[in-house]
Symmetry: C2
Subunit: 192 residues, 2 copies
DNA sequence: ACCTGAACACCGTTCAAGT
DNA sequence: ACCTGAACACCGTTCAAGT
């Protein structure tokens, strides 16, 4: 279960790193804007130690959710195998929705990561999954070709901004349908 | 040009209020997360004075952008008169995009205001404008009926999250087309 | 190599004291 | 009735000093 991150950290450093991630995971789940100082304190390390491992909040959050993001991304090919492409896409969006709701802190970070160069690291798999799903749909002739995965993710970003009312699932469903309809073949070109 | 906000503030209070709004407008345009303390200082008032007029950041931002929001809302009926409904909707989205880009600080606040009860005050006109546009489109048979204005605004929220690259207009255009296609009549019901 | 924790500049927010 | 500005608890971040 222990992971060698960069290669051969000193034993105590590795312990600190793991402990910080563990604490951060809980703290961020409880409140997505938990302060770094408070996380450090809960982890029993000085603030300097936290900053040594994670130079900024974004780096920490990305590290915390790395595994979850990977799991989400990995589900894409599975869905494609088990469902028609369009259904797979829609189902994956559904997972994305639930995912983004629980790990609430991730939303902003994901977007921030898009614009910066560091897409490849943690955020890349998400783009990869969308690419895969879009391609499958294209090949089946179910959606119009030429959509950019990042664009699609940007549009679907509303999922993270639906408030936690009790009908959020219905709302998310309706809005996902709206987007799906926009992606589909059959929507006309320009004008009425 | 001076506005009686709540009714009969004392003269110096009114001056302070105006001055704060003026400074805040510039400061927020320069950096959407300018601190309230720094705004108070630039306005030449103590922090307490700022808090007396605006109990929190949200209240200040809403007050600052009140007029701009109103102007945006007012353009909706004009567009409807001058264009076919679907074009009007699309054009209005375009204005919303430009608007949201310049007054960058407003984006989050708008969303925050949606969930809280205070929609009516500053945010209401936006919903009103969308309602108007959607209704015109429905009556022309151009879009499917039953869309919730808040839902539409939520989806279109990606406009505020497109980064300020030089092709953002093209990107925004593509994504708006996507949404428009989802709204249109002609998009099939369920399934491939 | 790595950790500690005091320290810095700053944040939002409050409130006694003034006029 | 309104304003001032010191004060509080906290934030992110740094860095000398320790082991």
């Amino acid at each position: 279960m222990t992971q060698r991150q960069h290669e051969a950290l000193r034993a105590d450093a590795q312990q600190n790193r793991d402990r910080i991630l563990e604490v951060a995971h809980d703290a961020l789940a409880a409140s997505s804007d938990a302060s770094l100082n408070s996380i450090a304190k809960k982890a029993g390390v000085g603030p300097g130690t936290l900053y040594r491992h994670f130079p900024n909040r974004e780096a920490l959050v990305l590290a915390v959710y790395r595994h979850d993001v990977q799991r989400l991304a990995d589900s894409a090919p599975v869905l494609i195998k088990e469902h028609p492409p369009l259904d797979a896409l829609r189902l994956w969006f559904g997972q994305l929705a639930h995912y983004g709701r629980i790990k609430h802190g991730l939303a902003d970070v994901l977007h921030a990561a898009t614009s910066d160069g560091l897409a490849g690291e943690t955020y890349g798999p998400v783009t990869g999954a969308i690419t895969l799903l879009l391609r499958a749909c294209e090949e089946a002739g179910a959606i119009r070709p030429g959509f950019d995965p990042d664009d699609v993710l940007l549009v679907v970003g509303f999922l993270w901004r639906i408030d936690a009312t009790d009908d959020w699932e219905a709302r998310a469903g309706r809005l996902l349908d709206l987007v799906m309809d926009g992606l589909r073949t059959g929507a006309p070109g320009p004008q009425t």
